[in-house]
Symmetry: C2
Subunit: 186 residues, 2 copies
């Protein structure tokens, strides 16, 4: 059901064709928020139009149809924004792996955590570039599209980095405890 509002939200920012919306999902959106293929997007746009939440405002070459959000569409989007996200509906592969980390041998856990640390650093470098490019615009225009999400992303990756560092010390502690237990056995 969220795809509907993802599309509505993108069209609330600016009018676009199915093709353009597909490209938007291939950008930063899909890495952090939501993704969908064109085979899902086109049928959903038809439904949204049938429900009067969006409308075709322009027909271009190659059969291109540009959609814009309608007033009922804005009302529907706003309503959804204020509904409590279904906290029983999470599917986060990364957090699942965190939960399952203790099923690994300490040496494997250390390897994996080191890889996470690297991912966090890479992502932070990427975020730095985004801020460099969009930063000036964001300073002039507060509350611009993407800024809230980018700032949240930057802070989240910093948190991931710090957490991974903490987790590595935890694995070391386990190694030390195991070694002590082994020594005591002899």
């Amino acid at each position: 059901m969220s795809l509907r509002y993802a599309l509505l939200g993108l069209l609330a920012d600016e009018a676009a064709s199915g093709y353009v919306l597909t490209k938007k999902f291939e950008g930063s959106l899909q890495h952090y928020a939501w993704h969908a293929k064109h085979s899902q997007i086109y049928p959903e746009l038809s439904k949204l139009a049938a429900d009067g939440l969006i409308e075709v405002t322009e027909e271009g070459p190659r059969g291109r149809r540009t959609y814009a959000i309608t007033e009922p569409g804005r009302v529907s989007l706003r309503e959804w924004m204020f509904t409590r996200p279904d906290s029983g509906g999470v599917r986060n592969e990364f957090v699942l792996r965190l939960f399952l980390l203790p099923t690994l041998e300490p040496s494997d856990a250390r390897t994996l955590l080191t890889a996470y640390l690297q991912v966090a650093n890479e992502q932070l470098e990427g975020m730095a570039k985004i801020f460099e490019l969009a930063g000036p615009e964001w300073k002039e225009e507060p509350m611009s599209f993407g800024h809230f999400a980018a700032e949240y992303g930057r802070r989240s990756f910093e948190t991931l980095r710090e957490w991974a560092q903490w987790a590595l010390t935890e694995v070391e502690a386990r190694d030390t405890a195991d070694a002590a237990a082994e020594a005591a056995e002899r």
Copy 2:
């Protein structure tokens, strides 16, 4: 495909029946990592058993079957833990809302951010209780099940709280800029 590994991971921690696994998904797991209904769990357990990754170790009353992970199961789980999570496959309703926050009027945005702040605080209180209950055990046994995830959760909610506070100042800035523009118009 992740459900398979979620089940495998839970069974790597300890043997359990489909019913018990369903209950585990109804706990903290579903709020932060993964969720599934019994109607999905039972067929998947059958498939995992058919593939030899788990096996029935005990048959109890009321037709209860307790499954345990097998050695091939552990190998498969470990392999999956080391695959790179598909970064093009995110579906995070919360982050989607962050992306769409700028589609709201500043006053609506302020209302929503205040609600997020409250959610973060509530969650942090909940986490504090979890740490109180499990903390002593976690201190004695480093790398225990749930500790990594809980610590990550705690840090993430602190990040959310700080981000929401920052975002509120951003909305204020927008309000100020809008008021100035209006004044200049007259």
